[in-house]
């Protein structure tokens, strides 16, 4: 208790210093007065009495200092003093301070930004009541392939009736058309079983969650819970939201709740807008209530209290065995082995696409920050060299070494915290950039929260310590000279300390050169890879094609009515000024999603899966895929006419090598379909991946199918994209009000989105590469500049003895050259192993491309030579006589 009490008193004492200092003065005066009185009474003359009294009392200022130390918190005083000193030092070198702060801001900001993404997607528990009890039900295959396991609706119902876990909920993401009073939009819906919110442990901020009651009877409870974001975006956070209607597809639903702001579903990065009871699946566009063959549901469970994952897994497999006997219709695959894994962090589907590039970025950002540490440390070492005399004087005057170290650390910590604070400001912007460059597939909050802030601060502190300790380690030679007396250090520099300085800084600079070479090489490889990707001919027009997706399925029309709608839509669009051709298709090139059907190969007689794309009339001329032989589809290829198909060259080669594909017949799908005649052959187009050859493809006339799913209008336009998009939107709204248009983009955008990741990787590594190059050049410059300044004496003598400037430059630059040479060699070897890691990101260029290595090394070498030459040359321009007198 006593120490605590004392600490509290000290803190209050610290805050109210003025009054208590008066108290001490008064007490001391009183003490001395009484003592003087006493000495006077003893017969001493007044002056002598006063002198003796003071002697007896001891040093007044020492007492006052001790008293103050007791009264206050001396550590705070020293800290304030150190901070003041550090601020003064930093302000004395504004260029250094600004450069270092900006460099650290970029480094720390980039690290914090990437950390915040990784944290949000991968590290942070879901914002639910008991995330540690959440489990995801998978099977062995799903675990091996890192994708969610899917289950049928009857199986989920059967399993949910068991008491294996404290609760099992099912979910399925479903794209829906949503119409409120003001607008229609495409939204991310999630069909969930009634106990989903209870099992997951999610709450609402307004209204209630969905309940098992809502899920009791198919079609009986048209109620939904909407997400906080959807509430704000679509309803302006209307507080009277409960009971309002929202039309999903063609059914009107009542809003009964708004989810808690933090909860966006369990798939991080793909937030849910609207939760719909599973029993309303038909209204939401799914109809698998009795279908045990279709597996489309994910299952999540909640462990019972104290239940372990292993125990639950065992209980689960027992339960499935029993179910297989009791309800064989529901359990179609009794041998499927179910597994459980933790769902505390939810699932991050998006991680699969962004994970690899994020990991690379994190590594690069880390290396860059390290490089920045090197540079700043080496600049500080240069400065501490300059301060060697000052330090020696301080030591001679009795400064404690620990105090000098804490002064030095305070300065670098202040610097790194400045950089960190600026980095926190930069971070959300970088995060936003990273998120948006991933396309629409990733939706994350980019605000800085305390976790990211804490991360940035920890990184700053570590940076500050690392940077601050370097000069201390380097200068420990000077300080150990204290025991031998500080005097030598004041007059001349101790040889040992200088050497240690130089060696450490040279090592740092060599590392820097090596690391920046590696960054440059990776950047150059990625840039060339991007250029190669851009140069690939995809096989279709890359400009002037507008894409608009629409999903008339939820309107509830039959196939004939939908066909009529599409034909009317195509007619209208074709009449719009600025439109050259218009068509529509099921699959868009370079977008996710593909449709495959079995086809009988005429060679082997086997059924193989072939990509098919139902397309409208005039599709090929609209998208610019050249027709090699035969004809395009026309408006008359419908259900009443003979079935026809158009194939690409690759399919023709696979199916009828060396034969004329025209007129051949082809049977698609299950055996029931009539054979279709090949009426045309088109050039190969790359639908899935630019890096690979095109897949074999069979194009089917859209109006010969009965598909009612979403289709994409393809419109070849003349003029501005925005004008045409607006015109088409108007036409469609007047044709079918309430049908949302989504994914409005050009084929160019599609191409860009597909290349977003390589482009982002190339841009960011290039930025890092430039920064690294600059840092390395500064480092090399520093090496030579210091070498020159330390040899001013020698330079003067040599020049006086007739050395030419060229001779001096060579002599001074030698050290820098050795450092750069070692750095470059190390960098080449380092790059060989580093670029191997980037192999999967590269296209059209080998990870060990010799030309790239040579050019990057040459660039760095030239820059380094300049950085050596300039300070060495400056040194020779000194007046010899003055140089000799110097120091």
């Amino acid at each position: 208790m006593r120490p605590v009490r004392r600490l509290l008193r000290r803190i209050t004492g610290h805050l109210s210093q003025g009054r208590s200092e008066n108290r001490l003065r008064e007490e001391m005066e009183h003490h001395l007065a009484l003592q003087i009185d006493e000495f006077t009474r003893a017969g001493l003359p007044p002056r002598e009495a006063r002198r003796q009294a003071l002697i007896k009392f001891g040093g007044v200022s020492t007492v006052a200092a001790d008293w103050r130390d007791e009264q206050r918190l001396p550590i705070v005083d020293r800290l304030t003093q150190d901070v003041r000193y550090a601020v003064r030092q930093l302000r004395r070198a504004p260029t250094f301070t600004a450069t270092a702060t900006i460099a650290l801001a970029v480094g720390i900001g980039a690290n914090a930004a990437i950390f915040s993404l990784i944290d949000r997607m991968f590290l942070r528990p879901l914002p639910v009541s008991q995330p540690e009890r959440l489990v995801v039900i998978g099977d062995q295959r799903s675990q091996a392939q890192q994708r969610p396991a899917m289950f049928s609706y009857p199986f989920s119902v059967a399993l949910r009736r068991t008491d294996v876990l404290a609760g099992i909920a099912s979910r399925s993401a479903v794209a829906i058309n949503v119409a409120s009073e003001r607008r229609t939009a495409r939204a991310r819906g999630e069909l969930v079983s009634g106990d989903y919110f209870r099992v997951v442990g999610a709450a609402t901020s307004v209204g209630r969650t969905l309940t098992p009651d809502d899920d009791s009877m198919p079609g009986a409870h048209p109620v939904v819970v909407i997400s906080d974001r959807f509430w704000r975006d679509t309803f302006d956070a209307d507080p009277a939201i409960l009971g309002r209607a929202v039309r999903i597809n063609k059914t009107s639903f009542t809003i009964v709740g708004v989810a808690a702001p933090a909860f966006t579903g369990i798939d991080v990065g793909l937030p849910t807008d609207i939760w719909i009871p599973m029993a309303m699946q038909r209204e939401a566009g799914r109809d698998f209530l009795t279908d045990a063959r279709s597996t489309w549901l994910e299952l999540i469970g909640q462990l019972k209290p104290q239940q372990t994952l292993d125990a639950a897994t065992a209980a689960l497999s027992t339960a499935v065995e029993q179910l297989a006997v009791a309800e064989p219709t529901a359990v179609r695959d009794p041998r499927r082995r179910l597994t459980l894994h933790s769902g505390s962090r939810g699932k991050a589907t998006a991680w699969q696409t962004v994970g690899p590039s994020l990991t690379l970025l994190m590594a690069l950002a880390g290396v860059t920050l390290l490089l920045e540490c090197f540079t700043i440390a080496s600049l500080l070492i240069v400065r501490s060299l300059a301060r060697e005399k000052e330090t020696a004087v301080k030591l001679a005057l009795g400064a404690r070494r620990s105090h000098l170290i804490s002064q030095c650390l305070t300065e670098t910590l202040l610097l790194s915290l400045l950089g960190g604070a600026a980095g926190v400001v930069v971070a959300p912007w970088v995060t936003g950039l990273l998120v948006s460059s991933q396309g629409a597939e990733l939706i994350l909050d980019t605000q800085v929260d305390w976790r990211v802030f804490g991360f940035a601060m920890v990184v700053s502190l570590v940076t500050g310590l690392v940077v601050g300790l370097a000069p201390i380690v380097a200068s420990s030679g000077t300080h150990s000279g204290r025991r031998a007396g500080a005097a030598p250090a004041i007059g001349t520099r101790t040889v040992s300390s200088s050497r240690r300085h130089m060696v450490l800084r040279d090592v740092i600079v060599a590392c820097q050169v090596g690391a920046s070479l590696a960054t440059l090489i990776v950047a150059a490889l990625l840039v060339q890879s991007l250029r190669a990707l851009n140069a690939i001919d995809p096989g279709f027009a890359r400009e002037q094609v507008l894409l608009v997706a629409m999903d008339p399925g939820p309107l509830g029309y039959d196939a004939a009515r939908i066909e009529a709608f599409w034909r009317a839509a195509l007619d209208r669009i074709a009449q719009t000024p600025g439109v050259r051709f218009a068509s529509l298709a099921n699959t868009v090139p370079l977008a996710s999603g593909r449709q495959r059907q079995p086809a009988i190969s005429p060679l082997s007689g086997n059924s193989i899966e072939i990509d098919t794309n139902p397309v409208g009339p005039g599709y090929f001329r609209t998208l610019g895929i050249p027709l090699v032989r035969g004809r395009d589809f026309s408006g008359t290829d419908g259900k009443d006419s003979l079935p026809v198909v158009i194939v690409n060259e690759r399919l023709a080669q696979v199916f009828w090598p060396g034969q004329d594909p025209l007129g051949q017949s082809l049977r698609l799908g299950s055996g029931r379909n009539p054979p279709a005649e090949v009426v045309g052959v088109v050039r190969d187009a790359k639908y899935r991946d630019l890096r690979q050859d095109a897949d074999a493809m069979i194009y089917v006339p859209l109006f010969q199918t009965t598909s009612t799913t979403a289709k994409t209008l393809h419109v070849r336009i003349e003029g501005r994209f925005e004008d045409l998009a607006a015109a088409i939107r108007r036409e469609m709204q007047s044709l079918e009000p309430g049908l949302p248009l989504f994914g409005i983009r050009t084929i160019q955008d599609q191409h860009k989105t597909f290349l977003a990741q390589p482009r982002q990787a190339a841009a960011i590594t290039s930025a890092f590469g430039v920064v690294a190059l600059l840092l390395a050049v500064i480092g090399v410059y520093g090496v030579t500049a210091v070498a020159a300044s330390r040899r001013i004496h020698d330079i003067g003598i040599r020049m006086a003895l007739g050395a030419t400037p060229a001779h001096i430059v060579r002599w001074i630059g030698r050290r820098g050259l050795v450092v750069v040479g070692i750095g470059l060699t190390a960098g080449v070897f380092g790059s060989v192993s580093l670029t191997r890691l980037t192999g999967s990101l590269l296209f059209g260029i080998a990870p060990h491309d010799v030309r790239t290595f040579v050019v990057a090394t040459a660039v760095l070498a030239v820059a380094s030579l300049a950085a050596i030459y300039v300070p060495a040359r400056t040194a020779t321009s000194l007046d010899a006589a003055r140089a000799m007198r110097c120091d």
Partner: protein, 115 residues
């Protein structure tokens, strides 16, 4: 050097507490005089060191102080032992006696005692 001062500081604190316990409230000069009389040379010089110590004891709650009037009609700060201080004095006295007894036994030890 430092260690010896620490010992003296500890002893001085005990002396302050004991003096206040025996003589009642005193001002700084009075305390210094009494301790000088009893301890001889310990506080003959550097009497000023008493004041930081008094502050420390006050912060620890062993003593308290207030302004009063001294014998020559001047304003002076008077220190008084608190209940906590009395307890502290008792325990420190006990500790001291134990330590002294222990050290005494060791000082008096002869080769025969250790065989």
């Amino acid at each position: 050097m430092k260690d010896k001062r620490d010992v003296q500081q500890g002893t001085l604190a005990l002396m302050v507490l004991k003096t206040l316990d025996v003589l009642g409230p005193l001002h700084g000069y009075g305390l210094a005089r009494r301790i000088e009389q009893i301890s001889g040379n310990l506080l003959a010089v550097n009497q000023g060191t008493l004041y930081p110590l008094l502050l420390k004891l006050e912060q620890e709650g062993a003593i308290e102080s207030e302004w009063g009037t001294s014998e020559n009609n001047r304003r002076a700060r008077f220190y008084r032992l608190t209940r906590g201080g009395r307890k502290q004095l008792q325990s420190e006295t006990r500790d001291w006696e134990e330590t002294a007894a222990l050290v005494g036994r060791f000082v008096a030890v002869t080769p025969e005692d250790l065989q």
